[in-house]
Structures are given as structure tokens and as C-alpha cells.
């Protein structure tokens, strides 16, 4: 397996960790490796410290490549487990550089959800998860395949349309075809399970990739996924981050706003605009209040976790404008945007003047 050829981009300690995980995977000690990129605003140690109250117990061990966390968490009683459960597990937070960490877990899905996944979900506003359009996701997968000189075959494509209707496509096909087929039905690929095969049609890697940049690997070398997929896609994302830093100007004429242009004119009726607000409400801590809904939409969005307020305006059939009311709303605008892209539909995001 061609390890080492890209190791220049990762520190040696991280490489050692990934090699260990890789050999566990090969020997069947673990079944899946899940890697989530997290863009942190504060040092990882502080992030973990401030999110400690999510868990009943949390032990933090310092390692050369980052932090090793062991958690115990009590889960609410359910019909299956009327007594409630205590879920325990451990996972790694690998610090790559100041702002990028990887959450690496080999836990089963159940434990993964109440440990590493919970930490990622609740990390905001101390850290954010990047979000990519489905086109970007598929392109990154295709590019990774081209660089490694192998073929990428989509085994399973999962996607939603604007009404959040889910569709799954389990035909084996090239990744581009999977995207095109979803597009034909106005759907976006949210998750893509891909098999990478080399010229001798032996499988190098099998993993699923999603629009948050999560990689879930069941065969192959995790290092390949990190250097081939996560690092380039995150670098492309962060280079666009300053788009969200819309300043609030004291002069109305110089005020800018963030404009999302959706294809296919989705805002024909009031129900559509209400669906837009509901989609935004799915973002945790985003409180949406409709101020006016006849015939245009003006809604107030408060990001309760950062205290930033913005107004969402829909005046025509395809464009949504987000205007911040508070200074320094960039981080929240980004979150609002990615929530809309995730739960309503993908759109082109631009910064535009008010008039």
C-alpha cells in the first residue's frame, strides 16, 4: 500500500497514529474509522475544557499529536432501554495546526454519536464544521482518485431534495454519474460511499464522504483519506472564509449583505418561505421569528450561541438576503448559510451591496 508518499504534509506523530489505526483496521480489530475535520477558533485543549459538561465524565490525556479523550455519558431512557444507558468510549483529537483538528474515532456508531459526534456538533461557536456543496464534494473525490491513479466508483449515493425527501442510489457507477443523476431530480448528494480501485482492480480504499467533510473508512489507509481528501478540501474552504465577514456600516448605502441565489425559483408561495424558516430552525441555537410574510418575507434570526442577530429577507422568487444587525457577525452568518445549504438546498453565495 502506498503509504508514506504523501506523508510530507502530516507530522510524524500523526502518521504513526494513523498507521496504528490502519493496521487495526486491516487486522479486523476495528470495523470503521471515522474522521471529522473541525476548524477551531480556540486551542483544542480549551475547546475540550469548555465542552466538558456535555459528558458525565471526561478524561483528557495529552499525546504528541493532540489529545486522547475517554468519556462516559448517561443517555436518557428510551423504549428499548427503559433504564437509560451509560455509554463509554475513547477517541482522539488530532491537532494538525492552530485552526484545524481532526476528530478520529474507531467507535461503533452508537458510541460515536454520543462521544466524538456530539463534541463536533456542540463545538460551535468555539469551532465550526466546514460545509461543502455536493459539486465540490464529488470533485474532490474525483480529484483524489486521479492523483492516486485509481478509479472511483460510487457504491451508494444518498441525497435530499428541497422538501427533504431522501433518496438513495445503490447502483455502482462513476461518481460524476451519481451526482448527475441526483441533479436531474433536483437533489443534492449529501453522502457518497466510494470504492477506489487501482489498475489491477484491487481495492485500495473504501470510504464514505459527506458534505461536512466527514470520512468514514471501512477499508484502506486513513492517511490516504486525510492527505488526499480532507486537507485539500478544507484548504479550499478556508480560503473562501472571508466572504462571510460582512461589516455593518453606519452608512446605509455602503452596507453589504450576504446573498444566496437558489436555482429554479423556489419561493413561489408563502409555504415555501415558511419551509425556508423551518430549515434555518434546524440549526442548533438559531431562533427564527417571522416578522412579515405577506408577500415578502422578513424574518429575524438570532444566533443564541453567539448573540448575533441578522435579518433574513426574501423579496423575489430566488434570492435570500442575510443582513447582520450586530457587528462581527461573520461566524454566525456562515453558520446560518451552511444550515440553509444543508437543510433547504444549495445556492450560490455572494456578498452584495444593499441597493
Amino acid at each position: 500500500m502506498p503509504t508514506g508518499q504523501n506523508s510530507g504534509t502530516l507530522p510524524e506523530a500523526t502518521n504513526r497514529l494513523l498507521r496504528r489505526v490502519s493496521s487495526d483496521l486491516r487486522r479486523g480489530k476495528v470495523h470503521r474509522v471515522r474522521i471529522t475535520p473541525l476548524l477551531a477558533r480556540v486551542p483544542t485543549a480549551e475547546l475540550v475544557q469548555r465542552r466538558r459538561r456535555l459528558f458525565a465524565e471526561l478524561d483528557v490525556d495529552q499525546a504528541e499529536w493532540g489529545l486522547w479523550l475517554s468519556f462516559r455519558r448517561r443517555v436518557r431512557p428510551t423504549a428499548v432501554h427503559p433504564q437509560g444507558r451509560l455509554i463509554a468510549g475513547d477517541f482522539a483529537v488530532v491537532t494538525l495546526h492552530d485552526s484545524l483538528s481532526l476528530i478520529l474515532s474507531t467507535l461503533r456508531l452508537d458510541a460515536h454519536r454520543s462521544g466524538p459526534h456530539l463534541l463536533c456538533r456542540k463545538a460551535y461557536p468555539l469551532a465550526k464544521r466546514p460545509f461543502f456543496a455536493s459539486g465540490v464534494l464529488v470533485k474532490a473525490v474525483a480529484k483524489m482518485a486521479a492523483e492516486k491513479g485509481c478509479t472511483a466508483t460510487a457504491l451508494d449515493a444518498m441525497g435530499y431534495d428541497r422538501a427533504r425527501r431522501f433518496r438513495r442510489d445503490m447502483r455502482e457507477q462513476p461518481v460524476d454519474d451519481a451526482l448527475a443523476e441526483m441533479r436531474q431530480q433536483d437533489r443534492y448528494v449529501h453522502r457518497l460511499e466510494v470504492s477506489f480501485t487501482d489498475a489491477n482492480s484491487s481495492e485500495l480504499l473504501r470510504a464514505s464522504f459527506d458534505r461536512y467533510g466527514n470520512v468514514s473508512l471501512c477499508r484502506g489507509d486513513p492517511e490516504l483519506a486525510v492527505t488526499g481528501f480532507i486537507l485539500p478540501i478544507v484548504a479550499a474552504y478556508t480560503s473562501r472564509a472571508n466572504m462571510y465577514s460582512v461589516e455593518v456600516s453606519p452608512k446605509p448605502r455602503q452596507q453589504e449583505l450576504l446573498q444566496l441565489t437558489f436555482p429554479n425559483e423556489p419561493f413561489g408561495t408563502y409555504t415555501d418561505m415558511e419551509a425556508l424558516c423551518d430549515a434555518l430552525r434546524r440549526g442548533e441555537g438559531l431562533a427564527v421569528t417571522i416578522l412579515h410574510l405577506n408577500p415578502y418575507l422578513q424574518a429575524q434570526v438570532v444566533d443564541m450561541l453567539t448573540g448575533v442577530t441578522a435579518d433574513m429577507i426574501v423579496l423575489d422568487k430566488s434570492r435570500v438576503s442575510l443582513c447582520p444587525r450586530s457587528q462581527r457577525g461573520g461566524q454566525s452568518l456562515e453558520r446560518m448559510t451552511s444550515t440553509l445549504l444543508r437543510h433547504f438546498g444549495e445556492a450560490q453565495v455572494t456578498r452584495a451591496p444593499v441597493s
Partner: protein, 363 residues
């Protein structure tokens, strides 16, 4: 709301409807004044399209001689337009002092340091009551000298056009009723070749003012007009956004971990928050909203040792998944109706509706 129509549900629904109506009336007024501001700026402001630079200032919150018109537009000529927005114009016999108020505006003497500036008064009323307004003004013009207007009072009827999906328009119409006057000439500029206010409003069948993106941006910037808003509106638009802005890191972490937070605030802290800096509501507005939060909403308590301090309870679960306007109005309506019931009327009342509730209206 529950499916079954239990007793009292009608009363609750009625109150919710009234809360929401008051909210949207105020919101419409804000949108209208903002649209006017954008319209003036678009035509005659700096970089305006008709004649740039004619407009010196559009004051949304004027306070002059103890009066608070909805706006005052200062032009360089010099000329001042004092404006008022009303939903309905009622007769003096119905106990409202709309006429007195307008006459007082016409007797104002706006000035800038030295001299007095010539001014007109314009009042925007709903198209259903502009004739009432004109009749009432006619009485004022022919009435005793002491209460006669001193400047033209122009009545413009407006109607909200909501049919088109592409936005909202306010159609403003000047109608030739007895008591209606025209703008004084010259008004905004001395050049007779330029279209002035008379040409735009009086000389045409109607003039449409659009609620566009610029107008909505202005209404976001200043979510108030010069009249005090209903408590529900100030809660949604001012107090809660300020409250969330004032939280510190630890409180936000608690919220993020799904734990309820009790935030202690004072009226002055809210007034000096970043988000209200450009708005500067009157302290009474915030005070009333905070009191509304204590009772009937019961979402805050007032500190017994220091009455300036309010402890407001917030949790992510309660606030993030729903429309604040709906949630708060429903809660307030339920509490008010429950209070009404517990006042101990022995007899069961069989009918519900506005007639019996009128006695206990809030505020």
C-alpha cells in the same frame, strides 16, 4: 394549540390574535416609514437619482417642543416636511385627538439655530379614512383662530398592495376633499422644472412607494418608529436580541450544553447594548417590555432587593425551535385568560368573545 376546543380556548385565540395584530400593525408602520426614508433618499439624497443632495436629513425620531412626529425631512432649500403615519383616522367625537395633534404639528416652528424654516405637514392615513381626515381638517380650518392650522396639512391616503409576489407597494393617493391642502410651493427645491412634491403626489392619480431591499435594510437598522411599540414587539426585536448579545462565554457554554441560564440584566444594560446603539429606544419602552416579561409572561423575575435588576430565564430548547412572536403571544394569552378565570366569578359564562373581555384588556 390543542385540537379540542376546551372552554377558554376561544378567549385564548382571541387574545393571541390581538397580540399578533398589534405586532404586525407596528411592523407595517416601521416598514412604511423605512420605505419612505428609502424613497426620499433614492430621489433626493446624496447620490439620489432625481436631484442629488436636495435632502439634508431624514430624521426618524424627532422630538420638538414635546411633540414626536413620525419623521421630519429637512431639505436644503430650506424646507421641512413633518410627517405622521396613521392606520385609521378617527373623529374627534370618538375620543382621539388626531386633529389636535396635526394642528400642533402645523404650528411648530422648526429651526436650525437662527431662522425658522418653512414647513408642511403630511399625514399618511389608510385610504378608507382619508375622507374622514379631510372632513375633520375642514372643521379645524374653519374653527376658532386659536386651534387653526398655520401650515398646509396634506392628507395622503395609502393602501398596501400585496397582490404581487415580487414585493409590497404602498399606493399613495391625494384626493380632492374639502379640507385637504396641497404642499406649499416651492417646496423641496426652487427650480420649477424639477418634479416637486405636488407634481409627484397631487398632480398624479397615485404614487407608489415600494418596500424594497434598501427599505427593509433600514427597518432592520432602526426597527422602531417614533411611537412606542407594543411590548411583544420590543421583546422580540430589542430585548431578547440584546439579552443574547450581553451573555458572557460561560453562559453561552451553558446554553450550548442544553442547560437553562438565568441572565441578570438591568434596563440600562440593555439600552447600552451594541445592537441598540443606533436605535436608542426610549427607556420606558425597554422597561415596559421587561415588566411584560415578568407579568404576564412569567419568564423573568424582578429582584426584590434591587428592583432595577431582572433575572431572565432562557434555555436553548424553549427558544430556538419556535417563532418567538407566536410562542410569547400564546404564553401571555394563556396566562391572562387564566388570571381572568381565577378572579372567581361564581357563575359559568356560556359565551366567549370580545364583549366580555373588553373590561380586562391589556394594558
Amino acid at each position: 394549540m390543542s385540537k379540542g376546543r376546551a372552554r377558554g380556548d376561544g378567549k385564548v385565540r382571541y387574545r393571541i390574535k390581538r397580540f399578533l395584530a398589534a405586532f404586525s400593525d407596528y411592523e407595517n408602520a416601521v416598514a412604511f416609514i423605512s420605505a419612505l426614508e428609502a424613497w426620499f433618499d433614492h430621489r433626493w439624497g446624496e447620490g439620489g437619482e432625481d436631484v442629488p443632495g436636495l435632502l439634508r436629513e431624514f430624521d426618524r425620531f424627532p422630538q420638538i417642543d414635546g411633540l414626536t412626529p413620525d419623521f421630519m425631512a429637512y431639505f436644503r432649500r430650506p424646507y421641512v416636511l413633518v410627517g405622521e403615519h396613521m392606520k385609521t383616522f378617527r373623529k374627534a367625537a370618538q375620543g382621539r385627538e388626531d386633529v389636535k395633534q396635526l394642528v400642533a404639528y402645523s404650528r411648530l416652528s422648526p429651526g436650525d439655530g437662527g431662522g425658522q424654516l418653512p414647513h408642511d405637514v403630511v399625514v399618511f392615513v389608510d385610504i378608507f379614512s382619508d375622507d374622514v381626515a379631510a372632513d375633520q381638517m375642514e372643521d379645524a380650518w374653519t374653527g376658532p383662530e386659536a386651534s387653526r392650522p398655520r401650515a398646509p396639512i396634506v392628507i395622503l391616503g395609502y393602501s398596501r398592495e400585496t397582490d404581487r409576489a415580487s414585493g409590497e407597494w404602498y399606493k399613495c393617493k391625494w384626493r380632492k376633499h374639502n379640507g385637504n391642502r396641497q404642499f406649499s410651493t416651492p417646496n423641496i427645491c426652487g427650480d420649477p422644472r424639477q418634479a416637486d412634491l405636488n407634481a409627484l403626489f397631487v398632480g398624479t392619480t397615485h404614487h407608489a412607494i415600494r418596500v424594497d431591499r434598501q427599505a427593509l435594510e433600514l427597518s432592520k437598522r432602526k426597527p422602531l418608529i417614533n411611537d412606542p411599540p407594543p411590548a411583544l414587539y420590543s421583546l422580540v426585536r430589542l430585548v431578547y436580541p440584546a439579552l443574547f448579545e450581553l451573555m458572557d462565554d460561560d453562559e453561552r457554554d451553558q446554553l450550548g450544553a442544553d442547560q437553562p441560564v438565568v441572565k441578570v440584566v438591568t434596563r440600562d444594560a440593555i439600552l447600552s447594548s451594541d445592537i441598540l446603539r443606533g436605535v436608542t429606544p426610549r427607556p420606558r419602552v425597554v422597561q415596559e417590555a421587561l415588566d411584560f416579561l415578568v407579568s404576564p409572561l412569567g419568564l423573568a423575575t424582578r429582584d426584590s432587593s434591587d428592583p432595577a435588576q431582572y433575572s431572565v430565564r432562557v434555555s436553548l430548547k424553549q427558544f430556538s425551535r419556535q417563532d418567538w412572536k407566536k410562542f410569547l403571544s400564546e404564553k401571555a394569552a394563556r396566562v391572562l385568560v387564566r388570571k381572568l378565570k381565577s378572579r372567581g366569578r361564581g357563575r359559568r359564562r356560556s359565551s366567549v368573545g370580545p364583549k366580555q373581555l373588553r373590561l380586562f384588556e391589556y394594558p
